[in-house]
Symmetry: C2
Subunit: 345 residues, 2 copies
DNA sequence: TTTATCTACGCAATCGTTCCCGGTAACGAT
DNA sequence: ATCGTTACCGGGAACGATTGCGTAGATAAA
């Protein structure tokens, strides 16, 4: 099945003109007489002519499309980010091509190569939780290919980066727990390789220290897949609850980590917040409807998507190679609900 | 900023061959000597040559990309669908371009035209809740452009269609309520224009009639934006609760409708299921964690995405125009939880 | 009248790739 | 010596659009 569109040649043939004249007429060039323009415009209107973007891409060596790499789109945070990306891309005449790593390094590499071969003009990346080796991205970056990292960034590459203040988010969450009287606060963290994990654990640790609580390594559990698999969360929590002094509160550092934590407590009939309090990073828009309603650190996902895309498009359209890169840090928001506050119940 | 890739010409020049020879060597043509092939292959490997898909698209008049139109990707059902779409598209070497209508007819038209002008090979569509006029799609369809509808389909166009058995889903949900002893069952429905609304209300009505309960028009409330706005749900529920005989159970026919309904009850301190029972269509993967946990009709979203994409790609790659179109109906799944069952509490 | 200037258009190259035609050796058969 | 085959390879058009350059014809200036 082919779908034949009207081309500039068809117009030229029909009107007895050359393609160059038609092209110039359509672009309203001064060297085309008003009447010829009128004829061309009318005919192209009538025949529903649309310029072929593929031909344009070939000539101009740009496709007006940008690639996105995220772990999962079926995740509130990322779908909100993509929403933000799409809104800006759309306004600037770019379309977006989304691909998912499903937290797999291998898949991420394949996707990057695939997107690169698709002649995209730039890349928005949030790396997978398995990713350590960055050669697949550095390779493009070295050749001047525009890349912007968001959320899960990497230190060793000089690009624009957009994140939230993960340190502050975790600090505030932890401090809130401390102020609420919790003393044995554990951390349920994502992959150790991820920037966000390090930053959030940093905030967690600092809050403990600032409040004269001991920081204990055994109170930290990592889930390589960021809680995507229920089992890894279950294992991590089993470890924590086996400790001599069980934690009385948990800070979870990712969406799935937080909800799977709640699922675990529900399954084991552990009361939240009476037995254990829970606060976590989450962008779900129905944490208020959960049982108990969840205290969360929420990230301005939509704005992150917008900002990342603005930076990327600016770089793509820049005449000169960009040398000074921005690192934009957006504020997280703390929402206190039942899961950390016995009085709210 | 430009990003210069290695082309077939570069290889030809470097090896002192013609582009045709290089091209043939790369495609393993029989008329190229083994040693020439080897040289070409080695050099293209070394120089990291990747065929330019844009040039290929121009020649072959196909872009190996398919367009998706949904209302919102930040909606579990649709993000799961997109997941399914992406998995099949990926396996077949297609990439997907997603666009969102945000339930706006105008935006949908713009997106369709944009995608069409981007030389996509086919379109997967779930119409917006405002859409009545289908000229923007019929236009493409008349010209033989492959379109597959999923979930929110339209009767008046002959294409492949993939849906769940909405009638059965609503029937089962309603019947479950009746069997649980509820007598005054109201329906919170989406836009009247949507196929899914009609089908679901049909199932609701039939279940009532089969069980000798009166069907009352005033027990049906429509939300044009499918519950995307909390206010429209609030208004609808206010209407229902104003009735002389208040409903003792509600069947909600969309994700946001269901959750916003729960939000409303929580806000007004209406006990679920004691005051009013609630069951709804939803693909959230944490309805089990809500308070109360939600009884839902769940759709096999991932499979719907896969199936739709298979049908679309089959049509795209078909040699002859496709004339007999399939209408595939997948089974919904009923999950009974606390929101409709007092004993589970 | 001659020359210069301007108007309005066409030619052809270009982007990267494929593929239809050729073409030219080398070799064996006649 | 001539012809036919086979094996290999190159030239060039094509896909759709843009654009630098060339130029015919008209007009204006000398």
């Amino acid at each position: 099945m082919k779908f034949e569109a009207v081309t500039i040649k068809d117009i030229a043939r029909a009107l007895g003109l050359s393609t160059s004249t038609v092209s110039r007429a359509l672009r309203d060039s001064y060297e085309i007489s008003p009447e010829t323009k009128k004829r061309v415009l009318e005919y192209s209107e009538k025949s529903n002519y649309r310029p072929n973007p593929i031909a344009l891409s070939l000539k101009e060596k740009r496709s007006r499309s940008i690639g996105i790499i995220v772990c999962e789109i079926a995740n509130s945070f990322f779908s909100q980010i993509i929403n933000g990306i799409e809104s800006i891309a759309y306004d600037n005449g770019y379309n977006v091509i989304i691909s998912q790593s499903h937290e797999s390094y291998e898949r991420e590499v394949i996707n990057v190569q695939y997107l690169a071969s698709r002649s995209i003009d730039g890349l928005l990346v949030s790396v997978s939780s398995e990713t350590q080796d960055l050669e697949h991205l550095k390779n493009l970056h070295r050749r001047g290919f525009p890349i912007v990292f968001f959320d899960r960034i990497v230190d060793e590459m000089e690009t624009h980066k957009v994140i939230v203040d993960n340190f502050k988010g975790a600090y505030d969450a932890t401090e809130h727990l401390i102020k609420s009287g919790y003393k044995n606060i554990a951390a349920l963290a994502g992959s150790e390789y991820l920037s966000i994990t390090k930053e959030r654990l940093g905030g967690y640790r600092k809050a403990l220290e600032d409040n004269k609580l001991v920081f204990d390594e055994s109170y930290i559990q990592h889930c390589l897949h960021g809680g995507m698999l229920y089992d890894e969360v279950e294992n991590a929590l089993n470890q924590l609850l086996k400790l001599k002094t069980k934690p009385d509160a948990i800070v979870a550092s990712a969406d799935k980590l937080t909800t799977n934590c709640l699922r675990y407590f529900k399954k084991l009939n552990i009361k939240v917040p009476d037995d254990v309090a829970l606060i976590g990073f989450s962008n779900l828009d129905l944490t208020d409807l959960l049982s108990p309603s969840l205290s969360v650190v929420r990230q301005p996902a939509f704005e992150m998507g917008q900002l990342s895309t603005e930076l990327l498009i600016r770089q793509i359209e820049s005449k000169r190679p960009v040398t000074d890169f921005e690192r934009r840090i957006l504020p997280p928001q703390l929402f206190i609900r039942e899961s950390t506050d016995k009085d709210l119940r």
